[in-house]
């Protein structure tokens, strides 16, 4: 991926202030945004609705109103838990959940997503963890999550949950040696080639800078 700032500027130059066109081309399922009729059902159906600033309904209107900076810097898309309540109720059948994740990924790619947003940090942790060896190393992932906010916070968290950890150890659900040399998938190089290819295809389709 090119430097986020550069890529952001290039996108801006191409679309002027037509943010809807930018979303349609570059965001997963973005071509659906224009179909929203602003009925409000998704906003009222989201179980987390009261806790975020911009409901899907509002995000879609902001996109159409060209509010690029506010949308891409919003932390609302990151709050989506993929419950799909909005998707099953939307009278226009917009894939709202997918659009939310698409917007989040796009904002991250441009370097505009809120840096400290916990879901964003967790997603990165997860992605790095699972793409490294082709499979998730749960122990490293869990510890990564514990220590996300620093050494002290990490030890505290580990101490609080020590009994669960011990239980899992006894039930053979947790192998401490995974920390040293974790399982890998059989064809690690193959997985990496596949991911690289997928990134290339995505870049070609959406006009992103070459990965």
């Amino acid at each position: 991926m090119g430097a986020p700032g550069e890529f952001n500027l290039a996108a801006l130059a191409r679309y002027g202030n037509d943010f809807l066109a930018e979303v349609e081309e570059r965001v997963e399922e973005g071509e659906w945004v224009k179909m929203c009729m602003q009925c409000g059902v998704c906003a009222g159906s989201c179980p987390f609705g009261p806790d975020w600033e911009h409901s899907p309904q509002k995000i879609f209107m902001m996109i159409r109103a060209g509010k690029r900076d506010e949308v891409l810097a919003s932390d609302s898309m990151w709050m989506c838990t993929s419950c799909y309540n909005c998707v099953v109720r939307c009278p226009r059948k917009l894939p709202i959940t997918q659009i939310m994740h698409g917007l989040a990924a796009y904002a991250h790619r441009l370097g505009l997503a809120p840096k400290m947003q916990p879901t964003r940090r967790w997603s990165l942790l997860f992605w790095d963890n699972c793409t490294k060896t082709g499979r998730v190393n749960e122990l490293k992932l869990t510890l990564g999550l514990y220590f996300m906010d620093g050494i002290v916070a990490g030890f505290k968290q580990a101490w609080t949950l020590r009994n669960i950890g011990l239980g899992m150890l006894l039930a053979k659900r947790l192998n401490p040696f995974e920390l040293i040399r974790g399982h890998e998938c059989k064809d690690k190089a193959g997985i990496h080639r596949m991911l690289k290819k997928a990134a290339e295809i995505e870049a070609r389709k959406r006009g992103f800078a070459k990965p």
């Binding site: 009729m37 602003q38 009925c39 409000g40 059902v41 998704c42 906003a43 009222g44 159906s45 609705g49 009261p50 409901s55 309904q57 509002k58 099953v88 109720r89 939307c90 009278p91 226009r92 059948k93």
Partner: protein, 427 residues
């Protein structure tokens, strides 16, 4: 009645609502032979079950009465009730039609004196009040029913109640031995006017029509407001019989929704605007109506009506399609949850009663018509390959009464053109 002879110069009209009656009368009054076939025991269709008509707020009885007088006066029109079409074959100018006639168990001698109804004890759901009340199993469908003749429900045939009805009749009008009959006829053209049915509100899961007694449909509301209805015209809550004064109307309940009906039902905005005026009529300034809407579609000249309702202080408009309805466990008050589009405010608003402005779907969905037809994605009939088969009124689209009548008149004209051609060929 079963020896209704028809020829290929006859026009068959299926469905005796306002559309079918209009089409049949227009053609008959032009001198054509017309056979009008209605499935239920009475003409009138759904409009007979409305309290008032928009836009003028007159009572449906008025228009119905004029039409019924025309029916009685017309020598070219024959009416078959409790009759259904089971098959139509042939092509324009020459169709062969199979009919099935259900027994009424009451013959022409009936004077509608009501003695059988008084004698019978069994009761059945009253479909003319959308099952909000019960009626005797020997009944006159409603005050404006045509023909004015009682009907025995098949459930009492062979029971002591059936015998009681027969014994009570002083005119020898009850014939318990009537059977289902079949009939084959020839006609030149067919007008299909089977109308609409309300979308099943229980399918709109988040609104809880099947769970909350104080969530009702717009059709049920018409019956509550009607003095001939189950509550004598008082707007009472189903849960506790208390007067409902704070009433919410939810638009597009099932319409404009890919999960339900794709089309705009076109009349429900006007129906709700009209119904806010029932609330005002009942309570004056003390009544309160709230209309939840995506956008109000009061088409062409109905805009005037909308403007009047907008100016009414007792009516509030909230631009929002509610996400869901909950129920207050203690009071059984429905609570509407959603977010409005003008400001994105989250609300949870309590009301006494919620009326769902349910959508219209074709009463006989395209696939069920016993003839090869072309229907749109909602099942409304567009045309038929055979060339002499026309849809009228709500069988062709979601229409108000005025537009149904226009569509019926147009189809009468088309049918007349067909049978006139048949005329010339024979001559």
């Amino acid at each position: 009645m079963t020896h209704a002879v028809a020829t290929n110069q006859t026009i068959l009209v299926v469905g005796g609502g306002v559309s079918g009656m209009t089409a049949a009368l227009e053609a008959a009054e032009c001198g054509r032979q017309v056979l009008l076939v209605e499935k239920t025991p009475t003409l009138g269709g759904r409009t007979a079950l409305l309290y008032r008509y928009f836009p003028k707020l007159c009572h449906p009885t008025c228009g119905l009465e004029i039409n019924l007088r025309r029916v009685k006066a017309s020598r070219n029109l024959r009416v078959l009730t409790q009759a259904e079409v089971t098959r139509i074959t042939g092509a324009r100018g020459d169709y062969s039609v199979a009919l099935k006639l259900a027994p009424r168990y009451v013959n022409e001698n009936c004077t509608a004196c009501g003695a059988c109804g008084a004698a019978v004890e069994a009761t059945i759901d009253d479909p003319y009040n959308y099952n909000l009340s019960k009626m005797k199993a020997a009944y006159l469908p409603h005050a404006m029913a045509f023909p004015q003749r009682y009907v025995l429900d098949p459930s009492i045939i062979g029971t002591p109640d059936g015998e009681k009805a027969k014994a009570a009749c002083r005119y020898g009008a009850i014939d318990l031995g009537m059977k289902v009959e079949s009939l084959e006829i020839r006609v030149g053209a067919v007008i299909w006017a089977t109308g609409w049915r309300p979308y099943d509100a229980a399918k709109i899961q988040p609104y809880g029509y099947d769970r909350y007694p104080n969530v009702i449909t717009s059709l049920e509301f018409e019956r509550l407001a009607d003095p001939h209805g189950p509550t004598g015209g008082r707007i009472l809550r189903p849960s506790d019989g208390r007067e409902a004064k704070d009433i919410a109307f939810i638009q597009c309940a099932g319409s404009r929704d890919e999960n339900h009906l794709r089309h705009c039902s076109r009349i429900c905005c006007m129906a709700s605007l009209k119904q806010t005026q029932y609330v005002r009529e009942a309570y004056g300034e003390a009544g309160k109506s709230t209309v939840y809407y995506i956008d109000i579609r009061a088409i062409d000249r109905f805009e005037d009506f909308y403007s009047k309702v907008l100016a009414d202080q007792t009516v509030r408009f909230v631009k929002s399609k509610p996400a869901r309805i909950a129920e207050d466990a203690g009071t059984r008050d429905p609570v509407i949850h959603g977010v409005d589009t003008e400001g994105y405010h989250r609300y949870a608003t309590r009301h006494d009663l919620v009326v769902l402005a349910v959508g219209m779907e074709p009463s006989v969905n395209g696939a069920d018509v016993p003839h090869e037809i072309v229907a749109d994605s909602s099942g409304f009939i567009e045309s038929a390959a055979s060339g002499g088969f026309f849809a009228a009124g709500c069988a062709s689209n979601a229409l108000d009464v005025n537009r149904s009548v226009q569509s019926a008149t147009a189809s009468a004209l088309r049918a007349i053109q067909i049978v006139r051609k048949a005329d010339r060929v024979e001559a």
